[in-house]
Symmetry: C2
C-alpha cells in the first residue's frame, strides 16, 4: 500500500477555510443562541464512546459506526450522533436532575468512510433533546424550535414534514398480522421513498382488496390538517388511530405557535422504526433534495441507559445548511494595515491596540524593502502581500504618521 | 474482559455540563474574537489525519498519538495538535496564498489514554499560527497576542517565560562537542525542570571547570532584560550569541507592546528540541503549577509538507484556563416560566416568542396536576420541576393572564 502523499488527508474529511468557518460559526452561534432562548442548555460530550453502550444505542447502523480499539482492547466508536451520549449523561451525571430536561449541543459526528458515495465522514450537527415529557406539546415544542432554528441559521424557504411511526405500524399490524418480513420490506420502500417499489410489493402480497387499498392510500396522506381526518377514516386499528390523535394535537399546537405555513403532515415519513417511537419529522429547504433537519420521539432510548423516560428532539444538518447558504462574502469588518519602521513601532503598536479595542481588525507589519509598499486598488482599498485592507497607515521615524 | 457498564465512558474523557460549557464557550468566543482583531482568520481541520503525514510531523511523541486503522488498512491518528494540520493546509489548499498567513483555531485534540496519570485523553486548544515571517517582530507578535488572549480569556495574573533553543544548543556544542548522549541527557533534565539532576550530571561529565561553570550558569539566567547581557558574557559560541540577539529584539518589541510586566526571560526553558527551532515560551498563571499557554518558532515543520517556510505560534491550554476560572455562576439571564392551560396556550406561546426576541429565556409548560404549581423561594425566584425562574406567568382560560 502506497504511503499517503504529505498533503493528503483521509477520504471523506474536510478542511474549512476562513470564509467557510466564518459562516459555519455564524450558523452555530445563531442557532445555539436561539435554543438558549427556549431554555435549552448546552452540553459537550466526548468524541469517543464505548461501542457496547453509546455505539449500540445510537440510531446509526452498525456498518456506519467508526470503530477503533483502545489500549485495553475495548471497542470504541467516534460518536455518530449526540442523542445517545446525552441519554448516557441524563442517566448518570444528571440522574438526580428532575424532568423535563432541555439540552442543546453543537458537535462534529462521524460515519465510517462512505467513499463511493462521496459522503462526509465527519460533519456537524446542532440539536436539542427534550427529555421527560411524553406530551404532544413536547413534540410540538421541538418542531417549533426546529423551525425557529432553521430561521436563525438563515434558511429562507423550508418545509417541515411530520409523520408518526405508530400509524403505519397500526396499519401493518391490521393488514399484515404476523408477516414481519413483508412489513419490513414495505417499511424499507417508504424509508427509501421508493413508492413504485412499494406499490409493486403490495400487488405481490396477495392481500384483500380492502387491505391493499388501505396500504396504498397512505401514499396520498400528505398535506395539511385535513390529512388527520382522512387517516382516521382509513383505519380502525387502535395504534393507528391513537397515533393520528397525537399527531393532530401536535398540529393544533403548531398552529398556535403560528408556524403552520412551514408544516405539512406526511404519513409516509416514518424514520427509523427501531429508534423512533412516535412523531418523526424532517425539514427540507426548497433548494435542496435532502433534509436539513430531522428528529422525532424516541421513548425507548433512555431505558437502555437505566433511566427510562420519554424523549423527543432533533438535529440540524449544519453542513448542509452551510452548503445551502454558500460561503460568506469577504468580511466587511474594517481591516487596517499599520506599517512601521524601527522608530515608528511603538506608536504603530499603540494605535493597533486602540483600533482592536474599538472592534476593528488591525495588522501590524514592519516595512521591508523586500515587499515594497501596499498597492491601492481602484475601489480605494489597499493590497499588501495578498491581503486586502480598508485603510493603510505608516509610522516612521522621519515622516511621522502617514495615513491613507 | 468485562463489558463497560451502560453509563460508562472511556477513561480520560469528559462530559461538560451546562455551567462548564457556558464558561468554556465564553473563553472560546472571547479569545477567537481577540485573535480576529489581530488579523488572524479561523480555520477548521478534520479530527482524523494520516499517521504518516500529520501524525509524524506533529510535536506529540509517538506513544501519545491516538492511532486507528481505516477500512483500507491505513493508519490514522486523532489530531494531537492543530499546528501540523494547518501546515498541511498552508502547503496544499493555501499553497498559492502569499505569506505571511495569520491563522487561528479552536479545536479538541487527543492523547492516547494516559490512565495512570489521570490525564485528559481529549481537551481543547485555542491558538494561532503566523506563517512566513522569520523576524523577531513575528515572534514578539505571537507572544503579545498570547498575553492579550490570556487577558481576553479572563486570566488575571500570569507570566510568560520566553527562552530560545539556540542558546543551549550553542552552549552544548561549545562545551560538549560531539557528545550527543550527554547533551541530550542535560536537555532532558531541563525539560523536566530537574535542576538537581542537571547539576549532578554536570559533575559526572568531567568537564573543564570553565565549561562546567558555564553550563551551571544557565540555571541562573532567569529574569528581565539584564539576562540578555549576562548571557552574552557567558558564551562566545556564535549560535548562542545569535539566539540571545534574537531574544533581545523580541524583548524590546514586547516592551513597545507595553506588556513587559508579564514577560520574563528563562534560558532553561527550551521546549521540544526536535520541533522548536528558535524562541519558545510558556504562560503560567500564578495559581497553577502547569502552563496555560505554550508556543514558539518551528521553522522546519512546513518543509515536511512541501512548502518550506518559517513559522511561529502558540496554543492556549483552554481546559486548564477553564479549571483556573472555575465554572460560571448560574446564569444571570432573565428566565421566565410561562405556564398555560388549553385556553391560554396561544397567548403563552406568543408571549414566549416576544420574550425570546428581546433576549430573555422563556420556557413554556402546560399546567399538569401531577407537578403542582411553581414554588416561590425566599429571594423571590420560582422553582418548578427543579429549575429556577426569575418570573412566572400563568395563561389560563378563566383567570386570563396572571403574572408574578
Amino acid at each position: 500500500m502506497a504511503k499517503p502523499k504529505v498533503f493528503e488527508k483521509p477520504t471523506g474529511l474536510k478542511d474549512y477555510l476562513p470564509n467557510a468557518v466564518r459562516k459555519l460559526r455564524h450558523i452555530e452561534r445563531s442557532v445555539l443562541d436561539c435554543m438558549n432562548g427556549w431554555g435549552y442548555r448546552q452540553m459537550i460530550t466526548p468524541t469517543l464512546e464505548y461501542y457496547d453502550t453509546v455505539g449500540a444505542a445510537s440510531s446509526t447502523s452498525d456498518a456506519k459506526l467508526f470503530k477503533l480499539l483502545n489500549h485495553r482492547g475495548q471497542t470504541l466508536v467516534l460518536r455518530s450522533d449526540v442523542t445517545a451520549p446525552i441519554a448516557r449523561v441524563v442517566s448518570s451525571l444528571l440522574k438526580e436532575a428532575p424532568f423535563p430536561l432541555r439540552i442543546s449541543y453543537h458537535a462534529n459526528v462521524f460515519r465510517a468512510f462512505e467513499e463511493e458515495a462521496g459522503r462526509d465522514a465527519e460533519f456537524f450537527q446542532t440539536g436539542v433533546e427534550l427529555v421527560g415529557d411524553p406530551s404532544p406539546e413536547a413534540d410540538a415544542e421541538v418542531v417549533a424550535l426546529a423551525i425557529a432554528s432553521l430561521k436563525a441559521a438563515g434558511v429562507k424557504q423550508f418545509k417541515v414534514a411530520i409523520g408518526h411511526v405508530g400509524f403505519l405500524k397500526g396499519l401493518l399490524d391490521e393488514t399484515l398480522p404476523g408477516r414481519e418480513d413483508a412489513q419490513s420490506q414495505l417499511k424499507d420502500c417508504l424509508l427509501g421513498r421508493d413508492y413504485v417499489g412499494y406499490r409493486e410489493l403490495l400487488r405481490k402480497l396477495s392481500l384483500t382488496e380492502a387491505a391493499q387499498s388501505e396500504l396504498e392510500a397512505i401514499l396520498r396522506l400528505r398535506g395539511g390538517q385535513e390529512i388527520c381526518a382522512e387517516a382516521l377514516k382509513l383505519s380502525a386499528n387502535e395504534t393507528a388511530r391513537a397515533s393520528i390523535g397525537h399527531l393532530c394535537e401536535i398540529w393544533n399546537a403548531l398552529a398556535e405557535y403560528g408556524v403552520s405555513e412551514h408544516v405539512l403532515i406526511d404519513l409516509t415519513m416514518i424514520g427509523d422504526f427501531s429508534y423512533y417511537t412516535g412523531m418523526t419529522f424532517e425539514g427540507y429547504a426548497s433548494d435542496l433534495g435532502f433534509p436539513v433537519a430531522s428528529g422525532g420521539r424516541y421513548d425507548n432510548l433512555l431505558a437502555q441507559f437505566g433511566r427510562p423516560a420519554p424523549a423527543t428532539g432533533f438535529a440540524l444538518k449544519t453542513n448542509r445548511i452551510l452548503e445551502l447558504l454558500g460561503e460568506d462574502e469577504e468580511c466587511a469588518d474594517k481591516r487596517v494595515l499599520l506599517m512601521y519602521d524601527g522608530a515608528g513601532r511603538q506608536a504603530a503598536l499603540a494605535e493597533a491596540q486602540r483600533l482592536r479595542a474599538e472592534g476593528s481588525i488591525a495588522v501590524t507589519e514592519r516595512r521591508s524593502g523586500e515587499f515594497g509598499e501596499p498597492a491601492q486598488t481602484a475601489n480605494g482599498t489597499f493590497i499588501y502581500r495578498g491581503n486586502e485592507y480598508s485603510q493603510f497607515e505608516f509610522y516612521g521615524g522621519e515622516e511621522g504618521r502617514t495615513s491613507r
